[in-house]
Symmetry: C2
Subunit: 293 residues, 2 copies
Amino acid sequence: MGARPGTVAAAVAGMTADVDGSRATLGILAGGSALPRKLVEACRAAGRPVYVLAFEGAADAATVEGVPHGWVRLGAAGEALRLLRENGVRDLVLAGAVERPSLAALRPDWHGAKLLARIGFKALGDDGLLRAVIAELEAEGFRVIGVDSILGDALAPAGPLGALRPDAEAEADIARGVEAAQALGALDIGQAAVVQQGIVLGLEAAEGTDALIARCAGLRRPGRGGVLVKLAKPGQERRADLPTIGPATIAAAAAAGLRGIAVSAGSTVLIDRAAIAEAADRAGLFVVGVPVP
Amino acid sequence: MGARPGTVAAAVAGMTADVDGSRATLGILAGGSALPRKLVEACRAAGRPVYVLAFEGAADAATVEGVPHGWVRLGAAGEALRLLRENGVRDLVLAGAVERPSLAALRPDWHGAKLLARIGFKALGDDGLLRAVIAELEAEGFRVIGVDSILGDALAPAGPLGALRPDAEAEADIARGVEAAQALGALDIGQAAVVQQGIVLGLEAAEGTDALIARCAGLRRPGRGGVLVKLAKPGQERRADLPTIGPATIAAAAAAGLRGIAVSAGSTVLIDRAAIAEAADRAGLFVVGVPVP
């Protein structure tokens, strides 16, 4: 990336070249997790100006620290568009988790209500909803790009990430987990499954991966530990909601007695690859990218 | 059923006619839940002799009270067969949940080890495992029958069970839950899903339906409550592990803020139909049998 440290002021002024050669301000629509901040830091390092639009109740305060930003409610689509335009944003990246609100909690503004009426909020799964949101943003003149076009090495490679690799029993658990997670993904329900000794201990739906892992600690059986399998959905919109793991995922998996983690190669975002590999080695877990159709 | 009260002594002596005209002792392989005791009571009422083989760590003490019975470990296949034969059992019914043990915890006896080697314990999902166990029991000369051949009105009918019925929004949630639960069932992972406002809040895997319901209370969204959908697996072995609900399921669903329960008509066991309808009416929930392919 030719990382060149840039100051916020320089970034805002757009005085240095950005990651992909453009000087345009990158807009980051930020939900929870450490991913949006990673994007901020990559842009800073590359001297690209950035504007963070942080969603209330989802993004961390640390995400926007020292960066031009605004906070909006999820339903405030009109205000969000205004802020993005006022801050010179053309390219947009969606990063971090947002808990899907009920329609009542959403309290859409006028623009948001029109948008919701058009896309049919309730009929869509998460991926379908995000696809619709992306289409709307592009209709408004923004260009939505993927996280991986900013974070060059963010996507999991095929094969083991750290020093350890799955044995035959773990490979069998991974295969069962891939089968289960793909079924969830095909229905746009969730991304993750935990399998131990051939038995699916848990499947992810609305609770999220961390809650899934924590619950499976209590379902753990004697003998060899299980695996977490986390996959992109078949045909997933790659500019939104790619599965994500980070060092915290490793710590949670280790605490739950799991032996390792398998993710879809080429479509799972690693929040800090080096830190993940180090945490996995230290905890004695494998992390492996598996090719999935 | 022509319920004729019979004493245990009379039942054991086989001095009265049984439900389907046979005087043969019915063997009940009993796991957890109230279902095995319901079978005991139905046999008693019909004067059919009964012998309960209760699995340690699974069956309730109340199940065997005042009834000829023996307790065995799940792995003690040889001892189980001996007890069934010594007590004159020919017809067998499998009832109640048994948590699937790890191979280590199973500690199979000699007969059990041979059986496990033959059926390939770990390669099978729950339904596959039960099919194999049934095949083994029949190879040993027993006749395995379904719960519904003892409890005539045990299976859920199509349509509402109590006074309430789902509205259009609940119908949409049921349709989404059917889709999700059928995917789980096709993979032999679980039977149940909870859906609210079109969003799948949770899916059942190893934790069981009660834990699923309890977890979904914490994932509940503002607005109209969700539904529990519980289905037999596609092509499920009907002599084992049919989905089951009882008054306790209604209470748990009500406590979790659900609006109702949908079960597969003709393949879900109702542990006390009248009590379920009454509990549902009292709690303001609907219970509906839905036809599923």
